[in-house]
Structures are given as structure tokens and as C-alpha cells.
């Protein structure tokens, strides 16, 4: 077992873990952060996407032991985030989710897209979102929601 110190959604935590445990497993199974959805566990689906030290990453492709001393932000960690609030409202209004399995990863990725590409067009969103898999919606409403959120947020 290894002891790692993580800052998770602002709270400092010390966990005793096996080196082989993914960040995703530690967040979901040990810390019960259930916005972490494990779809593929090989980096292909994007459902487990989080921020590590502010950078978007797949939590199934990080070992928790590699994140010692780093800060992790899961979907639970954006309560007062303006971009996330606007995205959530547009996801709701546009019916951008059905079963909801992909939604945490979609929202974290959508926020990253809006930070990097202010007021994106649908084509740019489609390309930037192509690493996130949804098996329900056919993506159209997700794209619509992100484009609408981008327009509302403007250049901010």
C-alpha cells in the first residue's frame, strides 16, 4: 500500500491505496464521488473525465499514486462555477441527456471547450467532443446545448 495526499474538490485527503488503483477507482469506490462513471477503463469513452491540477484528463488513465500532491476536481466540485451553471441549464433545456451515463464527462469536457474556444460553432464543438461517447442522444442536443451556452457566456 502507498499513502497519497490528494486535494479533492478543495478538501485535503490522505488515502492508503494500492499502486495499481486508478484515480477513477479511488474517487468512485473509496471516496464515493459517483459522478465518476467508468465506461471503458481504457481512455476511449470519456465518461470518467476530471480535472487534475486544472487540466482535463481521463481519471481511468491516471494512477492515483501518480497524483500524489495534486488537486483533483470532479463534477461535484463545480458548485459555484459560472460556466458549469450555464452549461447545466442548457443541457436541461436542450434535453442533452437521456440515461445520463456520459453526462459528467460531457459537462467537464464542455467546460474545457468553452474555456479554450469562446463562442464555438457547432463544427468545432463536434470535433472537440469527439473523444466523448454517448450511446443515447445521437449528440445533436449536446452540441446544441454547448453552442447555446457558449453564446450566452460570450467572450467571457
Amino acid at each position: 500500500m502507498s499513502s497519497v495526499t490528494l486535494s479533492v474538490n478543495g478538501a485535503k485527503l490522505i488515502c492508503d491505496i494500492e499502486p495499481r488503483e486508478s484515480l477513477a477507482d479511488v474517487l468512485r469506490e473509496r471516496l464515493r464521488l459517483t459522478a465518476i462513471h467508468l465506461g471503458c477503463e481504457q481512455g476511449a469513452c470519456g465518461a470518467c473525465t476530471v480535472l487534475v491540477d486544472g487540466k482535463m484528463t481521463r481519471s481511468c488513465l491516471r494512477l492515483a499514486v501518480m497524483c500524489d500532491g495534486q488537486s483533483v476536481q470532479t463534477l461535484e466540485g463545480f458548485p459555484d462555477d459560472r460556466i458549469m451553471q450555464v452549461l447545466r441549464r442548457h443541457f436541461h433545456q436542450c434535453h442533452a441527456l437521456q440515461c445520463g451515463f456520459c453526462t459528467p464527462g460531457m459537462l467537464v469536457t464542455a467546460r474545457d471547450i468553452l474555456l479554450r474556444l469562446p463562442r464555438p460553432e457547432a463544427q468545432a464543438v463536434r470535433h472537440a467532443l469527439s473523444g466523448q461517447i454517448c450511446r443515447c442522444t445521437g449528440y445533436a442536443n449536446i452540441i446544441t446545448a454547448i453552442v447555446a451556452a457558449g453564446r450566452e457566456l460570450g467572450g467571457a
Binding site: S22, E41, V52, L61, R62, M66, D68, D112, G131
Partner: protein, 276 residues
């Protein structure tokens, strides 16, 4: 979908890392960003006894201009390059290549050193660095050595790295003012490894290098195409014949579709280079 158990070490210096690798059995693995290795661990395609995490080694982060040109530390991520955090000596070529690798979430932690060390035959950085004539700088217990990136990969997922060696970074020569380049990558789906990827670079005076990935067991230079690519006098027919000649030597067993695909990516890369 969970890795088999392994031990984990996070050395603080290159000397410590190479010593760990030298002492370890054959099944030690080096991990940097982990964006290729962790899926392989999860699928149990790789089952090392020991993971040596080089992510904390400052010597692998050093990046900047040198008297010769540019040194890129092995831990430089694809996102760093995509976002223009490196001095751009090559007219945006490396930014173009970086932004086409996988997805942003992968680019944020995947490293240029890891890409070259993995030696996937369709990977983006080996073909790019080969076209730019880069050298890979390698450290071991007994010192350092350098080798052209083109010689470093020996075949699919096979390199010249000895058990106790790690990649420190890459050295690229500064081009003269007339550098021109073109690149073309065909993927079945955005973010996938290339079905075919060609990069053409001309460093002035008509001397060109053209490299192709996704065809053979490793990225390769195309010598006949390079001879004609830089000369505006070479017609499309001459170029097509040169491409066919190189492909016949490189992948004689390729089917008609693959030959046409590779011929197209090479032709588009050369055309883009000439249009600059």
C-alpha cells in the same frame, strides 16, 4: 479491466531512475504520462513487476533554444506543443501535429518522449521528428548517447533502448529561413491512430525529407520522393512514380487500397509543402 499488481517508484533524479531500471528485472516499465501504458496495464497486455514513474524528473522537462536549434524535454506534453509553449522554429509544423493527436484530455498528459518510446508504427511524433531530422538523447547508468529518431525505432513497439535507458529529450537543428512543410493524416475517426500519415519538410536549397507512418512496422523516410519533392520541375507524374517506387520497397505486400491511401497522403503533404 484492472491492472495486475505492481510496485511503484518515483525517482527524483535521472541517476536514481536508471539505477532502479538496471537493478530491476526485465519486466520493469517506465511511465511518464501513462496515456498509452495505462490502457495496456488495464487490459493486462502489459504486466510489469515495477513501474518507474519518470514524471517528476526535472531533467526531462528542460526545453528551450540551444546554439544548434531546439531541445525538447521528453516530458513535454502534446498540449504544451499545441498551445505554442515551445519556441516555434518550424513554422507551426509541430503545433499542427500536436493538435491532431488523440483528444485534448489525452494530449494534456501524453508526452512526446512517451510517444517515441512506445514506437507505435502509426504514431505522430516519430514520423514528424524523423522528417525534421531530430536526434533522441538517451541517458543510462553509464552516461548519455544520442541517436537519429529514424534509427531509434527498430520495429513495431521495439526500440534501441536498453533496460537501464530512458529518453531525456530531442535535439532539433535550427532550419534556415526557407523552411517549408506539409502534412497529411488520414484517420478512420478523429483521435484514432493514423491509417496513413505523411510529413514533408524542405530546409532550403531543394533538400527535402519526406516521412510516412502507418505503412510499415515503423515510420520510414521516402528517399525517392524526397529527391523530387523539393524541385518545382518535378511533375505530378514524376512524383507519383517516385512514391510508387518507395512504397514498393517499403511495403511490397500492401494491397491496392493501402497503396492508394499512402500515395495520397504523401502527395498531399508534398503539395502543401510546395504551396508554402
Amino acid at each position: 479491466m484492472k491492472p495486475a499488481p505492481f510496485d511503484y517508484a518515483r525517482p527524483k533524479t535521472v541517476a536514481e531512475a536508471t539505477a532502479l531500471l538496471a537493478q530491476a528485472g526485465a519486466s520493469a516499465a517506465v511511465i511518464a504520462g501513462g496515456q498509452s501504458l495505462i490502457p495496456m496495464l488495464n487490459l493486462r497486455m502489459a504486466q510489469p513487476d515495477l513501474l518507474v514513474d519518470v514524471g517528476g524528473l526535472e531533467e526531462l522537462k528542460a526545453t528551450g533554444e540551444t546554439t544548434q536549434g531546439l531541445h525538447i524535454g521528453a516530458l513535454t506534453t502534446h498540449s504544451d506543443i499545441e498551445d505554442g509553449k515551445l519556441p516555434d522554429l518550424f513554422g507551426g509544423l509541430m503545433q499542427r501535429v500536436a493538435s491532431g493527436i488523440s483528444y485534448r484530455a489525452i494530449r494534456n498528459y501524453g508526452t512526446i518522449g512517451g510517444s517515441v518510446a512506445l514506437a507505435d508504427p502509426a504514431a505522430d511524433w516519430p514520423v514528424c521528428l524523423m522528417a525534421l531530422g531530430a536526434e533522441v538523447r538517451i541517458a543510462s547508468c553509464s552516461g548519455q548517447r544520442s541517436e537519429p529518431v529514424g534509427d531509434f525505432a527498430r520495429g513495431q513497439y521495439t526500440t534501441s533502448l536498453a533496460k537501464d535507458e530512458i529518453i531525456l529529450g530531442f535535439d532539433l537543428k535550427r532550419p534556415d529561413a526557407t523552411l517549408r512543410w506539409g502534412s497529411c493524416k488520414v484517420v478512420r475517426k478523429s483521435g484514432a491512430f493514423a491509417s496513413s500519415m505523411a510529413i514533408a519538410v524542405e530546409r532550403g536549397g531543394g533538400a527535402a525529407a519526406v516521412a510516412l507512418a502507418g505503412a510499415a512496422s515503423r515510420a520510414c523516410l521516402l528517399p525517392s520522393v524526397a529527391k523530387h519533392a523539393g524541385s518545382a520541375a518535378s511533375s505530378d507524374d514524376v512524383l507519383r512514380a517516385a512514391i510508387a517506387q518507395d512504397l514498393a520497397a517499403l511495403v511490397p505486400e500492401a494491397d491496392g487500397y493501402s497503396r492508394r491511401l499512402h500515395a495520397s497522403t504523401v502527395m498531399r503533404a508534398v503539395r502543401e509543402m510546395r504551396s508554402r
